[in-house]
């Protein structure tokens, strides 16, 4: 009998051996030391989504994803200045009080069911929160923090002692007078990531260009500031990765609002009538407006066809002969209207019966300034990375592919389209959670390529899509 029993065990043993065994991936850090990682940057780094910061946004920000993947390679704790408390009701700022610590979540754009389907609902008014009065309790004593991303930071902010008082986000986790770079270096980092520069063009762009009153940082200033930041971050021998700036005009924020509309015969005729005096004035021999200028300004509406909207353009040639003629024209196909162009105003005659104000419009001139500056910044970033032997993540190229052809990750299609593209959060500027996962993988690939490490990527399919608020 005993023999039989032993024989009976045989199949169980065979079954146990049935599991296929794929050898585990062995991890190594290559020539980099990932034990203390700090992330320096702007709102992309701090985890802003939907024009606001939430605990979820912080959890899913690309630096935190990278830090998690660094753990098997000796990466230590990655401390973030996390928000605490319950989310505030959208649009209701007063819920920050009386206890700012318990309601430290800012109102964000949310996606909600509306009678016409899912739509983004913007807090009213949309709060420019980092320039709002201070309402944060200072948590710098609990630092140092590994993520010193500060929403609104330009490259020049990194070494600016005044930034800790002027920027409410950074003020929250820094001591008075401390710079972003000092806050980063308090960690004694062995490795850093730096993704900065978008605000150096974005502030100008998101507010409509020249009409915004916000300037594009000069190339020489950018060059000096980025060099200084990298001097500081590498002073103690830390290695790192620096990302360049995605094409800001490629983001959903600039490519969602249609540039015109199709008109029926009645509307087209009425509008043509309405602009008849204006068009006549352009061709009035008494005014003597040059033909090229007149052609640029001439307004035509055709029934049944796509008609470009009319905008106010203060950059139109100023000439005393034009005094009294409004500075308006129709948009051309390579220009942009920003996401915050009021939809209800468009429906009630903006762009057709009335010109769209210039602060919602990026014209070709402004576009050129933005693109030229971005190209220059990126050239400097690449040069600095090469000179210093740092890893370089070409976010510009990566995001261009996303915006033009789209990408597929784990069966998920991602592209730059607003909401349906899945790559951007509801503000059309900052990446969504999945967008952060894609960016984190981009950083990881760049680091591995430079330092011979094998940090593992993340599965984009493990990250949620843009939340629908009930």
């Amino acid at each position: 009998m005993k023999k039989y029993k032993l024989l009976y065990l045989l199949p169980a043993a065979l079954l146990f051996g049935c599991e296929p065994d794929i050898e585990d991936v062995s991890t190594n850090g290559g020539s980099a030391d990932f034990s203390v990682y700090v992330a320096v940057g702007n709102s992309l780094t701090s985890g802003i989504q939907g024009e606001s910061l939430t605990l979820e946004g912080q959890e899913y920000c690309y630096p935190n994803i990278i830090a998690t993947q660094l753990e098997p390679l000796g990466g230590g704790e990655f401390k973030q200045p996390l928000l605490t408390g319950e989310p505030a009701t959208e649009g209701v700022f007063t819920t920050f009080y009386p206890d700012p610590r318990s309601n430290l979540v800012l109102p964000s754009i949310v996606l909600k069911a509306t009678p016409t389907g899912l739509a983004p609902v913007f807090p009213d008014p949309l709060m420019d929160w980092y320039s709002a009065p201070a309402f944060f309790e200072n948590i710098s004593a609990e630092g140092p923090y590994n993520n010193v991303g500060a929403s609104g930071a330009r490259v020049g902010s990194l070494n600016d002692p005044a930034f800790s008082s002027s920027n409410n986000w950074f003020k929250r986790f820094s001591s008075p007078g401390e710079t972003v770079l000092e806050a980063a270096m308090k960690n004694n980092p062995t490795f850093f990531s730096l993704w900065i520069g978008a605000n150096d063009v974005l502030g100008y762009s998101t507010s409509g260009g020249d009409e915004s009153g916000r300037l594009i940082t000069s190339i020489s200033e950018f060059e000096a500031d980025i060099s200084e930041a990298l001097d500081t971050l590498t002073r103690t021998g830390a290695k790192g990765v620096i990302a360049n700036i995605p094409s800001v005009t490629g983001i959903a924020y600039f490519n969602t609002v249609p540039l015109g509309t199709i008109l029926d015969a009645a509307s087209a005729n009425a509008l043509t009538q309405g602009y008849a005096d204006y068009n006549d004035a352009l061709e009035n021999p008494l005014l003597g407006i040059p033909a090229a200028e007149a052609a640029k300004r001439k307004i035509t509406f055709t029934a049944g066809q796509f008609n470009f909207f009319i905008v106010t353009d203060t950059t139109l040639q100023s000439d005393r002969r034009l005094a009294g003629v409004p500075s308006i024209r129709q948009i051309t196909s390579n220009e942009h209207l920003i996401l915050q162009t009021p939809q209800d105003s468009l429906l009630s005659g903006w762009g057709t019966a009335k010109p769209i104000p210039g602060n919602y419009h990026i014209n070709t001139d402004e576009l050129k300034k933005i693109n030229d500056a971005t190209a220059e910044y990126n050239r400097i970033i690449k040069r600095e990375a090469d000179v210093r032997g740092l890893a370089h993540y070409d976010a510009y190229a990566a995001f261009n592919v996303i915006s033009s052809t789209g990408i597929i990750e784990d069966g998920i299609s991602l592209n730059g389209d607003y909401i349906s593209g899945g790559m951007f959060s509801l503000d059309g500027v900052h990446p969504s959670t999945r967008g952060h996962a894609v960016a984190a993988n981009g950083f990881i690939d760049a680091i591995n390529a430079k330092y011979g490490s094998n940090i593992q990527s993340v599965s984009v399919s493990n990250y949620p899509s843009v939340e629908v608020t009930p």
């Binding site: 023999k3 024989l7 597929i408 990750e409 899509s465 629908v468």
Partner: protein, 405 residues
């Protein structure tokens, strides 16, 4: 030797299938020797293996019935993340029934019921490839009335007409840009037709040759049910429950086998099969109704024709027992760029053992044991940008009964 029997019967199986989603387990005797049986007769199961051989049966009536328990495990190591995941497949239970009747010296009739295609793969609802597949169950039952005719003492032919009942159920998560994960469940069945024909020739007293062709069968699912769950209420109108149609091609297979009777007790055989998997180019779903979010989908599969090589031997120990052993190499029809976790088959190596017992003149039983090594491969499904290393193991226990008179 009798003691060995107990463990074999005691095995609670674990799993699996052959290349693509073919299931080659149509006779316990044949399975025990590498699943070959095109060129030599082993009972009523000839109705499947080579219909021409039905007339070789010494009995007026011959019946065989049996089934297998398949225990399988597939492991996946994500090529991007290095994270390993594995399937939790239920035990598969393919079965067969064969009956042959010798009408006269020339003519025999038979009926075969078998399941030559099937696959059940359960990756789970929340694994990294959930947007490609969560779980899939395919099965096809063939019912095949068959006739054979002895042209001479040496040459015989046979053919059967197969009525095929095919079933598919697929569950996957929907990769929506907003909201919680929604899931799609596609379930359908269809009846299709095919044939199975063979020739068998005795070269001399020791050597015989068999050639068979089992036809391609297109299982055309019409009016399948497409059901969506966990869809955000605001998106529900984009995913109305509805119908779908799709065609799943079951490939034709041509097999050539040679058997050599080394002695009265020992028989060895080799076989080669050519499987026309290249018919499976695309899995296309036609949804009804369509919405802006729910469009018809074309999913490249681009399978290539594949070969299976088999070698096996049978040793008749005495009047009571026969022992068998075999080996096969089953080539994967799937290209490295189109390797989808829904039917994740790599090149398979099969190692088999078998045994038959005869109880009296009329009754017999068979047992087989098959271990399948799905060799490791590093492949991806490029259209979804998803891939990594795959490997599988299967343990298949087969049990059959036969009765002849």
């Amino acid at each position: 030797m009798k003691k060995l029997l107990l463990p074999l019967l005691g095995i609670i199986p674990l799993l699996s299938f052959a290349g693509g989603f073919q299931v080659n387990l149509q006779g316990t005797k044949q399975t025990g020797m590498g699943h070959l049986g095109t060129s030599f007769h082993l009972g009523a199961s000839s109705a499947y293996f080579n219909p021409a051989m039905m007339g070789l049966d010494e009995n007026k009536f011959s019946f065989e019935a049996g089934g297998s328990l398949i225990a399988s495990s597939i492991q996946f190591q994500n090529g991007n993340t290095g994270v390993s995941e594995s399937t939790d497949n239920p035990i598969g239970t393919p079965f067969y029934l064969f009956g042959t009747y010798k009408i006269n010296d020339k003519l025999s009739a038979g009926l075969a019921v078998y399941t030559p295609f099937g696959s059940t793969v359960v990756w789970g609802d929340d694994w990294s490839g959930k947007y490609l597949i969560q779980d899939i169950a395919l099965s096809a039952v063939f019912i095949q009335p068959t006739l054979s005719y002895n042209i001479s003492d040496k040459l015989r032919v046979g053919a059967g007409f197969a009525i095929v009942q095919g079933q598919v159920e697929i569950n996957k998560a929907l990769p929506l840009p907003v909201g919680n994960d929604a899931a799609a469940s596609l379930k359908g069945s269809a009846t299709a037709f095919g044939f199975n024909a063979g020739i068998h020739y005795d070269v001399n007293e020791k050597i015989s040759i068999g050639l068979t062709h089992r036809s391609k069968v297109d299982v055309e699912l019409e009016e399948g049910d497409a059901v969506y769950s966990d869809v955000e209420p605001a998106l529900a109108s984009s995913f109305p429950d509805g119908k779908f149609s799709a065609t799943l091609p079951l490939p034709g297979t041509t097999t050539l086998g040679i058997a050599y009777n080394v002695s009265e007790k020992l028989l060895v055989s080799v076989e080669g099969s050519f499987v026309q998997w290249s018919d499976y180019q695309s899995l296309d779903f036609d949804f009804e109704p369509n919405t802006s979010s729910l469009k018809d989908s074309e999913n490249a599969r681009k399978y290539e024709d594949a070969m299976i090589f088999r070698v096996g031997a049978q040793y008749s120990y005495n009047d009571m027992f026969d022992f068998r052993a075999g080996f096969y190499y089953d080539q994967s029809p799937i290209q490295d760029e189109y390797f989808n976790p829904e039917t994740p088959n790599s090149d398979n190596i099969g190692l088999t053992l078998g045994l038959s017992g005869h109880i009296g003149e009329r009754f017999g039983f068979d047992a087989s044991f098959l271990y399948v090594i799905g060799t490791e491969r590093d492949s991806e499904y490029q259209p979804a940008n998803f891939g990594g290393k795959y490997a599988s193991r299967s343990l298949i226990t087969g049990l059959g009964l036969n009765y002849n008179f």
